[in-house]
Amino acid sequence: MSFELQASLRARNFDMSLSLGDGETVAILGPNGAGKSTLLGVISGLLRPDSGAANIGGRHLFNLDAGTRHWSPPHLRGTALLAQEALLFPHLNALDNVAFGPRSAGASKTAARESAKLWLAEVDAANLANRKPAQLSGGQAQRVAVARALAAEPELLLLDEPMAALDIHAAPLLRRVLKRVLKDRKAIIVTHDVLDAYMLADRVIVVEKGRIAEEGPTRQVLERPRSHFAAGLAGLNLVTGTISEEGITTPDGRVFAGQHDPGWPPLPGQAGVAAFPPSSVSVFLGDVHGSPRNSFAVTITDLEPHGDQIRVRAGGPSQALSADITPAASADLGLVPGMEVRFVVKSALVSVYPA
C-alpha cells in the first residue's frame, strides 16, 4: 500500500507533493523553517492545508480538492507521530503508555498490556515497563515512545527529529533500534542528521522554503547533491551554473573546470552543478603562477576550526565557497576575515553533473 500526498498551505508558504512506496522509509532533510514539521502536521491531521489531498492505499486522509471537503481527524488516520521529545503521558507507567494505542483501538486492558510488553521488548525496554516517565532517561523515554507509536500499528509512522533532543550517548542505541523497526515499514523521518538519512532511509527528500528542493536515493543525494542544503550536509562545496565542455560556467562568468560524471554525459548549455570537497581547495595570497584554471579571487568571511583543519569560508560575488587548510598554513598566510585571497580548486576533484 502506497502513500501519496499533495498539499499547500499558503500561511506557511508550503507546497509539496510526495509519495511513498510500500515499506519505504524516507528521510526529510532541510534547514529550520523549511516546512518539515508542517509536512508531518498536515499528514497526521494536526494542521489543515488550504488545498490538496492525501491517501494511504487509496483510503483518503483528506481531500480538499475539487470542491470536496473530506477531512479525517487525527485519530482515524493511522499515522502515529513520534516527536523530538518523547511526550510520554506522565501519569502512566511505561507499559500503560505503550498500551495506550491498543486500548484506544478497543483492545481489552489485558490484551493491550500483552501487546505493549512485546513492543517494549522490541525496543529493548522490557525492563522499564513499571517505571514512570519521570524515572526514565531521555534515551529510555524516547525508546518507550517508539514502542508506543509502533503499538498503535500505524500504517505510516511519522518521526519528527527523534534523536535531536538526546545526548550523544543515547542517540546511537535509539538509531540502532529505529534501524531495526523501520525496516520494511512505511515511515517518514524528519532529521538534521546525515547519519540518520544514511542509516535509516531508503530515499531522501531535501526541502527548502516550503518546497521540495531535490529527492532521490540517499546515497545519490549525498554524493551528488544538487541543493546547497544537501551539499552542506555532505560537506561539499556546490556551485551552480551551466554545463560547458570544460565544466561549469557560473552566471557571473567564472569557470569551474572539473570531471564530468560518467553517468551523465555532458550536454553543454544544460543547467548543472559542480561539487567538490573543501579539502580540494587551496588558499594563496596574491597572484598565482602556473595553471590559472580554477583560480578565483575571494574575500574571506569566516575562519573556524573543523576537525584538525581550519575551514576558510569565503563569499564570492554570488556563491559561498570553503577551503580546508592546516592551522600552520593558515598562520603562515596570516588569514583573517575580510582579507582578499585566491582559492585554487584541483579540477581532478571537481564533479560536474546536471542540476
Binding site: 497526521s44 491531521g45 487525527p74 502515529a80 506522565p90 501519569h91 484506544s104 516517565p133 538526546l166
Partner: protein
C-alpha cells in the same frame, strides 16, 4: 523556593509593610479568638440550630462544588482550548461573579428563577419552585463559586499545553478518550485546587444566598446566615460559630496549598 545564594534582594522596609499587611489579617482573627467563650464553646456550636446550619452548609457546599465541576470543566476546556467567536466575551462573563457584589448576584438569580422570573414562570407552571429552597442555596453558591474553578482549571490547561493531546490523537484516541485518559489526569492538581477553592467560596457565601434563598432554618439558613442572625441575639454563639468557619477555611486552604506543593505537574522528560 529560597535562593541558594542567600541573597534575596528585598529592601528592609518592605518587611515592615508586609508585617502590617499580615497583621491586618491575623489581628482580627486573634481578637475574635480572645472573645471566644471557651467553657460554653461545645454547647454553643452543638446547639440544634447551629448543627442544622453547619450540616446544611456542608451539604449545599458539597452539592455546589459538584455542580461547579460538572459545569466548570467544560467551560474551562472551551475557554482554554476552543476557538470560537465571542470567546473573550464569554470569559469576561464567567469571571463576572468574582467582582460582582453577591447581593447583586442574588437579585439576578431571583429575576431568573423567582416566581416572576425569566425561567421561574415556566418552572412554576411545571410545579417547580426554586427560590427560597435548598436548591436556591446551591444555585446561589454555584453562581459565586464557579469562576474559582474555571480560573484555576483554565490556568492549568493552558500551562499544560496540548502536545500530549496531539500525540494521543495520532495514537488513535478519540477526543473523548483523550479527555478522559490524558487531559483530565494531567490537570488533576489544578482541578483539585479549583474544587477546594469553590467549596470554600460556597461555604462562605452570604449575600446571594440571603437575597435569593432567604433564611429559613434547616432549609436555607447556612452557617454564615446563622452567624449573622445570632450576632443580634447571642454574640457568644456567633463568635463560636465563626471560629468553626475559620477552622474549616484554614483546613481547606491548607489542603489546597499542601496539595499544590506536593503534586506539582511532573516535569516533562525530554
Amino acid at each position: 523556593m529560597k535562593s541558594a545564594t542567600g541573597y534575596q534582594g528585598i529592601p528592609r522596609w518592605i518587611y515592615a509593610i508586609a508585617a502590617v499587611g499580615g497583621l491586618l489579617v491575623v489581628l482580627p482573627l486573634a481578637a475574635m479568638l480572645a472573645k471566644v467563650n471557651w467553657p460554653q464553646f461545645i454547647p454553643l456550636v452543638t446547639s440544634e440550630s447551629s448543627l442544622a446550619a453547619l450540616g446544611l452548609s456542608l451539604r449545599t457546599s458539597a452539592a455546589s462544588t459538584v455542580l461547579c465541576i460538572v459545569l466548570g470543566v467544560p467551560l474551562a476546556l472551551v475557554l482554554a482550548r476552543g476557538e470560537f467567536p465571542g470567546q473573550r466575551l464569554l470569559r469576561s462573563f464567567v469571571l463576572l461573579p468574582l467582582v460582582l457584589p453577591p447581593v447583586v448576584g442574588g437579585i439576578a438569580l431571583l429575576y431568573t428563577f423567582g416566581r416572576q422570573g425569566l425561567l421561574g414562570k415556566s418552572l412554576e407552571v411545571a410545579g417547580i419552585q426554586i427560590a427560597f429552597s435548598t436548591t436556591a442555596v446551591v444555585l446561589a453558591q454555584t453562581f459565586v463559586a464557579l469562576p474559582f474553578l474555571v480560573v484555576s482549571l483554565e490556568g492549568a490547561l493552558r500551562s499544560a499545553g496540548n502536545r500530549f493531546e496531539a500525540v494521543a490523537a495520532t495514537l488513535g484516541a478519540r477526543p473523548t478518550t483523550v479527555l478522559r485518559r490524558v487531559t483530565l489526569p494531567l490537570v488533576l492538581p489544578g482541578l483539585a485546587s479549583g474544587a477546594v477553592l469553590s467549596f470554600a467560596r460556597s461555604l462562605g457565601e452570604f449575600g446571594a444566598t440571603l437575597t435569593f434563598a432567604g433564611s429559613l432554618e434547616g432549609v436555607t439558613r447556612t452557617l454564615p446566615l446563622e452567624i449573622y442572625l445570632q450576632r443580634e441575639t447571642d454574640a457568644d454563639a456567633a463568635v463560636a460559630l465563626s471560629l468553626v468557619l475559620v477552622a474549616v477555611a484554614v483546613a481547606v486552604v491548607g489542603l489546597s496549598y499542601g496539595r499544590r506543593r506536593s503534586s506539582t505537574p511532573s516535569e516533562v522528560q525530554a
